[in-house]
Subunit: 266 residues, 3 copies
C-alpha cells in the first residue's frame, strides 16, 4: 500500500506530498499525523533548510472526506473534537515549524485543503488552481484556520462572500488579492516552489526562524507587543554567529556563508 | 407622514430603505431605532433569508443631520453619549443579526452613512457612488465604526489620509481597494443586491449565521482564538440537519434543499 | 560639524531632514534623540500644523550603521537593549505626536529606515525609491516596527517573503500595495509631501490629533473597543470650538477657519 505522504529531498529542501490521488488528495487522520511528524523531524534536522508542501497527481487537496465526515454525526461532540484537533494540530505544526514551509498548489485547494495551503509561510500557485471555502455547500462551517488566514489579506466583505457562497478563486485571483508569492503556468508550481525554497534555504537559519515568528505575530499583535518581540529577537541576534558572519561578509563585500554555521552546530 | 424607514419583501429577501429623501437620507434617532427593531424582528422570522439595506431617492445616506448635531453642544457629555449610542446600537445590531445584511449604495454614503454601509456583511455599490469620511470637515471625529471598518481593507497611511482630509472615494475606487462585492452601473445597486441576497437566502441558515460570526471575529482574533471558534462551530455543524442534507445531497449528486429545514423548524 | 538633523519651516509645516549624507543617512543614537526631541517640541508649538520627515542628499535612510552594530556583540544584552530603545522611542514618538507626520522618501529606505518611513502617518515616495527589509542579509531580525507596519497592508505570505529574502520594493510597488499616499517622479517627494502637509495643516488641530489616534488603534482594536474610542472622542468633539466653527461654516456655506482657533488658544 502506498503511503499517505510521499517525502523526498532536493538538496536542502524537503518535499512533502499528499498521496491520496484517487480522492484528489482528500484529508485523513493518517495524513495529519504523517505531516505533523515530518515537520517535527525536519525542525531537528539541520540539513533541512526549507520545506515544500504539495500534492501528487495534479491537485493540492480537495479537503475533508465527506463519507468520513458524514459518519461523525454519530459521534459525541467530544469525539468529533478529537478528530478535528488532528487538523488543527497540523495547522499549528506548520506555524510552529522553525523552517519556512512553502505550499505548491495545482488544481483544487478546497475546504481544509485551502486552510492548509494558506497556513504555509509562502504560496506558489498555478494560474488555474482553484481555491474554495467549500464548507457552506454541504451545510458546514470553515475550520483549519480558513477564516483566520483569508482575513489576513481580503476585506471582511469579500471574506463573507467567499464563506457564504463557496465561490472558487483562481490562482490568478489569489495573486491579485496579494496572497500568492509566485504565480506560474499550470504544471510549474512544484518546481518553482522548490527553487524558492532552495534560495531561502541558504539564509541564516536561526534568524529566519525568528523572522517566521515575527511574521505570524505581526498580523494581530498590538504595535507595543510587536516592538517588544522585535526588540527581544534583535538584541539576541546581535550576538549570534549568523550576524557575525553576515556583517563581516557585508563589510568585506563578499557573500555570507550561513550554511557552514548550520553544519558546525550539528 | 411617511415613515423614516420603508420596508418591503422580495421573496426571502427583506429590503430596508432609508426614507428621509429631502435630507439625502440623513440619520435620526427614529431611523436608528426603526432599523434596529427591523433587524431584531428579521432575526426571529424564519422566512427572511437575507436583508438589503438601502436608501430611497438615489442616495444611501448623507450621515448625521448637522442642524441636530449643532444642538448637541448644549447637552451634557452623558446626554450626547445616549444619542450617539443609538447609532452604535444600530451598528452592533447589523453585526449581531444572524442573517446576512447587504448594503446597496447609490450616491452619497457620508459620515455615519459610510459607517453604516461598511458595517454590513457585503457591499454592492454604483460606480459613481461617493464614500466620504466627512467628519473632519466640520471639526468632528469619526463614529459608527468608520475607522474600524476602513482599517479592515486599507493601509493605515490611506486610512489616515481619508480621515484627515475627508476626501471622497468613488464606488469604483472602493472596489479596487477590495471592499465592494458587486460594482454596478448607476441605478443598479438595489436590484443587484437583491439578486445576491436571494442567492444567499437559499443557503443553510444556521451555518450561515455561524459563518457571519466567524467572518467578523476573523479580522482581529488571534489565530489560536479563531481556531478555537472554528472548532466549536464545526463540531456542532457536524450534527445538524443542515449538514445531513448538504452531505447527502453532495454524495447523491443532487442540489441540497435547505429551505425545507427552515420551514420545518418554524 | 553639521548637525545630524536639519530642521526648517515652510509656513505651518516643520521639515525634519536626516543629515548623515556621507553614510546615506544611516541612523545613530544622536539622530534618534534629535528627532524625538523635535517631535516633542512640535507637539507644544501651536504654529506647527504638520511635520515632514525626510533625508538630505537623495536617500531617506539606509538603516543602522553596520560598523556600529558589529560592536554591539561585545555589549551585554541589557546594554544592546538600551541602544535599541533609542530607535523604538523614536517610533513611539512619531506615533504619539499629536500632529500628522508625513514621510518623504527618495532613494533608500532600508532596515530601520524602512521602519521609520512606515511609522509615519502618511507616505510620499518617488517611483524609484527602494524599500528593503534588509536585516536577514546580515543575519539579523527586523526592528523598529518593520514587521508590524508591513503587516498593516501586505499578506502574511508577502510579508514573510520580504523579511526572509530582503528583496527590495520600489516606490511604485509600495503604491500598488496600498501604502503610498502620493507616488511622484524621482526628486519630487519632498515638495509633494510639503504640499500635502500644508493642506492638512489648515484642518482642526484637536480633531486631527484624535483622528490620528483612532487610525493607529483601528488597525488592531476589536470593533467594540474601537466603537468605544470613537464614542468618547465624538462626544468630546461635539463641544469643541472646532466643531462649532466647522458646523457653522458648513451651514453658512463658507470655508471654516480653524487656524484662528489655534492662535487663540496659544
Amino acid at each position: 500500500m502506498s503511503p499517505v505522504l510521499v517525502t523526498r529531498r532536493e538538496g536542502a529542501v524537503l518535499v512533502l506530498s499528499n498521496n491520496n490521488v484517487a480522492a484528489r488528495n482528500a484529508l485523513s487522520l493518517a495524513f495529519y499525523a504523517a505531516v505533523t511528524d515530518a515537520l517535527r523531524d525536519a525542525a531537528c534536522d539541520a540539513s533541512v533548510g526549507a520545506i515544500v508542501l504539495t500534492g501528487e497527481g495534479g491537485h493540492f487537496c480537495s479537503g475533508g472526506d465527506l463519507r468520513q465526515l458524514a459518519k461523525r454525526r454519530d459521534l459525541s461532540v467530544q469525539e468529533r473534537r478529537v478528530r478535528l484537533e488532528g487538523l488543527h494540530d497540523l495547522i499549528r505544526a506548520v506555524r510552529d515549524c522553525p523552517k519556512p514551509v512553502i505550499a505548491a498548489v495545482e488544481g483544487a485547494a478546497a475546504g481544509a485543503g485551502l486552510s492548509l495551503a494558506m497556513a504555509c509561510d509562502m504560496l506558489v500557485a498555478a494560474k488555474d488552481a482553484k481555491f474554495t471555502v467549500a464548507y457552506v455547500k454541504v451545510g458546514l462551517t470553515p475550520d483549519g484556520g480558513a477564516t483566520a488566514f483569508l482575513a489576513e489579506f481580503v476585506s471582511r466583505q469579500v471574506l463573507t462572500e467567499l464563506c457564504l457562497t463557496g465561490a472558487a478563486l483562481s490562482g490568478e485571483r489569489m495573486h491579485a488579492l496579494g496572497a500568492v508569492n509566485r504565480l506560474v503556468e499550470s504544471g510549474h508550481a512544484l518546481s518553482t516552489a522548490i527553487e524558492l525554497a532552495a534560495e531561502i534555504s541558504t539564509g541564516p537559519q536561526h534568524a529566519m526562524s525568528r523572522i517566521k515568528t515575527l511574521c505570524h505575530q505581526a498580523m494581530r499583535n498590538s504595535l507595543g507587543d510587536q516592538l517588544e518581540l522585535e526588540a527581544q529577537f534583535m538584541v539576541e541576534a546581535m550576538g549570534t554567529d549568523e550576524s557575525k558572519e553576515g556583517i563581516e561578509a557585508f563589510l568585506s563585500k563578499r557573500s555570507p556563508n550561513y550554511t557552514q554555521l548550520r553544519q558546525a552546530s550539528e
